[in-house]
């Protein structure tokens, strides 16, 4: 465990969950769409590829549909994710929870933690492109809208996460 950060304790999970649900509801009611995270990364990836190697994504429908007309800063999900970063920062700052640190198990080196972080990120990237969304766009948004695919995603993701967490449990204790 890295150095403990003093700060106010976290909110009650049910209260935070109801708050999150009201944010999601506001998004449905006002914008007609839910939350998302992976879509913003798809737009960032498509924009980067167009700048660096446009030939490599010519004819790639996935990247073309994530290239909005007005550029990435006119994209709903990109702006929403910038909001997530600002909102998370403000909440932590006001609760005294901002601190530079690397969260990892007590017996795990920073290099090992960096490895699991990269590997985990890569796998989540692959999974969310295949599934057309992640915990935000599929699980929360699709879950609340009773989408069949979202509930399949929730079941599959939790099952795999429990299995992998059990196998790798030593790296967190």
């Amino acid at each position: 465990m890295s150095a403990r950060v003093r700060g106010r304790p976290y909110a009650d999970p049910y209260l935070a969950g109801v708050g999150l649900g009201l944010v999601l509801l506001a998004s449905f009611v006002l914008a007609g769409r839910g939350l998302g995270a992976s879509g913003a990364f798809a737009t960032a990836a498509a924009t980067s590829m167009r700048a660096v190697a446009p030939a490599a994504i010519a004819g790639n429908a996935y990247f073309t549909e994530h290239l909005g007309a007005g550029g990435p800063l006119r994209d709903w999900l990109v702006v929403e994710i910038i909001g997530v970063i600002v909102g998370g920062f403000l909440s932590a700052a006001l609760a005294g929870r901002l601190a530079l640190r690397v969260e990892r198990g007590e017996h795990v080196s920073v290099a090992h933690r960096a490895g699991t972080a990269v590997a985990g990120g890569l796998l989540m990237g692959g999974g969310s492109v295949l599934a057309r969304g992640c915990t935000s766009g599929q699980a929360l948004t699709g879950g609340a809208l009773l989408s069949v695919g979202a509930w399949l995603f929730i079941g599959a993701a939790f099952a795999a996460a429990y299995l992998v967490a059990f196998v790798t449990r030593r790296s967190w204790t």
Binding site: L20, A117, A165
Partner: protein, 201 residues
């Protein structure tokens, strides 16, 4: 009077982007308040020591689901203009398995990794980088996996249609399941706390 809901904001307009920014701030704020920007807290869900992920996620789903159901029933919101993510059976099962394995390694999901990075966590920043690379690489490989990616297309299929139930009854089942899940989550946490206390003695 703000007119029919959802609003018809042109994509990329200042109003739409201001709304996106506001929704994002609320989203990031709630994730951070719940402690889900912390990989060690998030992993508690999968080590059965801290069920906050489940509690936050299902309180949010139930709140938004009930709110939307009643607002639509009262005629305040046109449900047909709310976009329901489309179902693709196999890619969402396979994608879910790959995603879940990654989430247990990363200790964070894409949204919470942004909060982790924004609050000073180096591990969160590395997850963000890995996730970006994963989306980029899989996006490039997608034309070769088009068969899998497009398989099992069912459109915007919802659970009530699948089970031939009216949406109100299905929502009641989901709420009951979530409440039962909350009771189980509390029991699991108490059982783990007792176990830890015994080991420590």
């Amino acid at each position: 009077m703000i007119g029919p809901l959802p609003l018809s904001l042109p994509a990329g307009s200042g109003d739409a982007l201001a709304l996106a920014f506001g929704v994002g701030i609320g989203f990031g704020w709630c994730l951070e308040r719940a402690g889900l920007g912390s990989a060690t807290k998030l992993m508690g869900q999968f080590h059965l020591t801290d069920m906050a992920v489940f509690k936050v996620m299902f309180s949010a789903i139930v709140t938004a689901m009930l709110g939307l159901f009643w607002l639509s029933r009262l005629g305040a919101v046109d449900l047909s203009r709310v976009y329901v993510p489309e179902t693709f059976v196999l890619p969402q099962l396979v994608g879910g398995l790959v995603f879940g394995a990654g989430m247990a390694l990363a200790g964070l999901c894409p949204g919470t990794s942004c909060v982790a990075a924004a609050t000073g966590r180096g591990d969160g920043l590395v997850v963000v980088g890995g996730f970006f690379a994963g989306v980029l690489a899989t996006g490039l490989a997608l034309p070769a996996m088009a068969g899998l990616h497009q398989s099992g297309a069912r459109g915007s299929l919802t659970l009530d249609t699948l089970f031939g139930m009216d949406s109100g009854s299905l929502i009641l089942v989901v709420v009951a399941a979530a409440l039962a899940g909350f009771i189980v989550a509390e029991q699991v946490e108490q059982w783990q706390a007792r176990r830890v206390a015994e080991v420590g003695r």
